[in-house]
């Protein structure tokens, strides 16, 4: 667990003279009040700078260090700044100092500065390599977004709801990192890599022996071909990643032009609906295919019934004829063979009268099971089914889904066109490339699918050849095959473990996020919680079980905060949350609820707010004993701020 103890800044942003903030040991919230321009964001950045040596500006862009020096001091010819951060981690006290000093008298860009860093653990100072390793372990940069964030970063979480979005993908990856998934993923990758090498080795061994030479060579060739397909897939994926980044860049540019923001929004919504429709179609098609597997029975239902009726009639006729023949014989013999009695007098007369006049009309009994009876027995083996109604319903749904997709694709094309060819003045730079990037993305995706399929075919061939080879097995051949098998099985175990582990994490994150969301939302009576998707996006679940589609900016904000808290609660790593003005889009009731919930999100919370968002009285009233310290950022001049503790 990481806990901040003390932060000292000098020459950093508006803080000209050394300024100190101390964070109490007790769990709870430290609040720093400050008006706009006083340096709240600079404090967040000072912590970021101490750990990573970087400072972020708007749009999460890295800011040039030259712009960080206090401007008042700079006007007097003093450049550079330093940050010192003291914290506890794993039972040790650490002090981290990072300084940025000019190397020339009048620096004008980042090249004119040099940076130094020092990390002390207890009483000993760590060497550079050890320092970087320790910092990477204490606070990995990749997950810092979950600990140090502002309102803007919270907005990024909305991207999680758009499946195809590059930013969403990046955030999902960061979430998995904070939750520890990469270890399993890397394990699977390394085992697969080693198992393929082992396969190649086994094939090479086999090709050296006369009896297995042909098989070994074929196996080697197949493995090489498979590798070539894999390499191509990797290359294409890299290309896709670059194209997606390009797309995001252009989209960000378009987003910045107000006029296109709503078009982009509608396009993204349509894309999300298209994804859903494609998934639904796949499911529906699966159900239809299952139903069609049994449909032959429905087709034969009527013919079989008709044949059964006909066979029954025929069998009845045969039975009647048989009875008649028995009667005729009894009349002829004057004796009934069935009941072994004499037939005479009135009985004989009655029997004779019941026979047809033509003696030839009565056929002699043939004996054995009649053809009609055996036909009936055969027909009764048939299991009847009627799924015509089911097929009709599924087919209708499938066509509706196909139609919906066509409509959505058309709409997306129109919207993309609207993004690409309006206002040539503003979009001159991006319009051509945007359309091109989209086209390239779809081409690369298709190519990835194709290559993947080819790779799978090769793999099937490899498995077939391997089986054949196993039947030869000399002892050293067996050894290399065993080696490959262990690696393959282990890789399979790791692959399955990734899915299992992620599913478990997702449900835990969903449960905690729901709890936090319900404690922060003002619509408790309507909502039952949050539902998490594959990429860790959260949707609000209404009490009637449906997803709430229209969400206000405020609701998005609360959902994002709930996710932050849930990740903190479920991740193996624990640390402080430092939030800069997180209430921007929230009304008063939501703000109260969020403040109330903050102590449940992390043990140590540092909140940077301006008093118009939340006043001191309100803060004290809501947090009570969980408010552990308050600071005020005081204006000295437009370029100077001091930090004062509020007693």
């Amino acid at each position: 667990m990481l806990r901040l103890k003390r932060l000292e800044v000098e020459g950093f942003g508006p803080f000209a003279e050394p300024q100190v903030l101390e964070f109490p040991d007790a769990p709870g919230v430290t609040v720093v009040y400050g008006e706009n321009m006083r340096g709240k964001t600079s404090l967040l950045n000072a912590i970021r700078y101490a750990f990573f040596g970087t400072v972020l500006g708007r749009g999460s862009r890295v800011r040039r260090l030259h712009t960080i020096s206090n401007r008042d001091l700079a006007s007097e010819g003093q450049f550079g700044f330093s940050v010192s951060l003291t914290f506890d981690y794993d039972g040790h006290e650490y002090e981290l100092v990072r300084e940025c000093k000019p190397t020339v008298k009048s620096p004008s860009n980042d090249e004119d500065y040099t940076q130094t860093a020092m990390l002390r653990r207890g009483t000993s100072t760590l060497g550079p390599q050890e320092r970087e390793r320790a910092l990477q372990q204490i606070f990995p940069k990749e997950v810092s977004r979950f600990f140090l964030f502002d309102g803007e970063l919270l907005q990024e979480y909305e991207e999680l709801l758009i499946n195809e979005s590059e930013a969403g993908h990046r955030i999902s990856e960061a979430i998995e990192r904070i939750l520890g998934v990469p270890i399993l993923k890397r394990g699977r990758t390394h085992l697969t890599q080693l198992s393929e090498e082992a396969d190649k080795h086994a094939a090479k061994e086999a090709s050296k022996r006369q009896e297995t030479q042909a098989l070994g060579t074929a196996l080697q060739q197949a493995a090489e071909q498979k590798e070539a397909h894999q390499k191509e897939v990797a290359r294409l994926q890299q290309q896709l990643q670059e194209l997606n980044a390009q797309r995001t860049e252009v989209e960000q540019f378009l987003q910045s032009v107000q006029k296109y923001a709503s078009i982009l929004h509608e396009r993204d919504e349509a894309s999300a609906r298209l994804d859903q429709a494609a998934k639904d179609e796949k499911l529906c098609r699966g159900e239809l295919q299952k139903a069609m597997g049994e449909a032959w029975r429905s087709l034969l239902r009527e013919p079989v019934r008709a044949a059964r009726n006909a066979a029954q009639d025929e069998a009845q006729k045969e039975l009647n004829a048989f009875l008649m023949s028995l009667r005729a014989k009894a009349v002829e013999d004057g004796h009934c063979g069935t009941c072994d009695q004499a037939v005479d007098g009135p009985v004989l007369a009655r029997l004779r009268a019941s026979l047809p006049e033509e003696p030839d009309a009565v056929a002699a009994p043939t004996g054995g099971v009649s053809a009609a009876m055996s036909r009936l027995a055969d027909l009764n083996k048939f299991t009847e089914a009627d799924n015509v109604g089911e097929v009709r319903l599924l087919w209708k749904r499938l066509r509706d889904l196909e139609l919906e997709q066509v409509t959505l694709r058309d709409r997306i094309t129109d919207l993309n066109a609207a993004l690409a060819d309006s206002d040539p003045e503003t979009l001159r730079r991006s319009k051509a490339s945007y359309a091109e990037v989209l086209e390239k993305i779809s081409v690369v995706k298709r190519a990835i699918d194709d290559e993947g399929k080819k790779g799978e075919e090769k793999d099937q061939n490899i498995q077939r050849l391997k089986k054949k080879l196993e039947s030869f097995g000399t002892s050293d051949l067996r050894a290399s095959q065993l080696r490959a098998k262990i690696l393959r099985d282990a890789s399979e175990v790791f692959g399955a473990a990734v899915d299992r582990y992620k599913a478990g994490l997702r449900s835990r994150v969903e449960a905690t996020a729901s709890k936090l969301f319900l404690s922060m939302t003002t619509e408790k009576q309507d909502y039952s919680g949050l539902t998490i998707n594959e990429g860790y996006g959260l949707t609000i679940r209404h009490r009637d079980g449906r997803a709430e589609e229209a969400r206000s900016a405020g609701a998005e904000h609360v959902v994002a905060l709930a996710l932050m808290g849930a990740l903190q609660n479920n991740a193996p790593l624990r640390g402080p949350i430092v939030m800069d003005s997180p209430f921007g889009r929230l009304d008063e009731s939501h703000t109260d609820n969020v403040i109330q919930t903050l102590p449940e999100m992390a043990e140590q919370v540092v909140l940077l707010v301006y008093e118009a968002e939340v006043g001191k009285a309100k803060m004290r009233d809501v947090l009570r004993s969980r408010l552990v310290r308050e600071y005020q950022l005081e204006r000295i001049s437009a370029r100077r701020t001091n930090v004062r503790e509020v007693k």
């Binding site: 295919q289 299952k290 013919p303 055969d378 015509v388």
Partner: protein
């Protein structure tokens, strides 16, 4: 006596038809299409016969795991002594008439069952 076959095959024409029907994605596998088309042919009262020039596709034991189809053919075509050959013929004929309907009427699986 004429020997029956052990597998159900398709001729070049019906092989192409099967691939064409597979493209629609209404069925999970080729065997399901073949069984459906065979039933379609029976319902259309296609008479007994044999299809020449076929190439093996499915083992009869797999195609008719429960033996229902063979029993059914014995009942519906009592004079037939080679049920697998007949099964094959009905599959081939069924494929042809189903494909002809699908092509000319542009219909889907539900309409085929009406």
């Amino acid at each position: 006596m004429e020997r029956d076959r052990e597998s159900v095959g398709l001729n070049p024409e019906t092989q192409a038809i099967l691939a064409e029907l597979e493209e629609h994605g209404w069925f999970l596998e080729g065997q399901d299409i073949a069984r459906f088309c065979m039933a379609y042919a029976i319902r259309a009262k296609i008479t007994e016969g044999a299809t020449a020039g076929t190439e093996t596709r499915w083992a009869a034991g797999n195609f008719d795991k429960t033996g229902e189809i063979r029993a059914l053919l014995a009942a519906l075509y009592p004079s037939c002594v080679t049920p697998v050959r007949l099964m094959e013929h009905l599959v081939n004929e069924g494929l042809r008439i189903v494909a002809a309907r699908v092509r000319s009427e542009a219909i889907g699986p539900a309409e085929l069952m009406d």
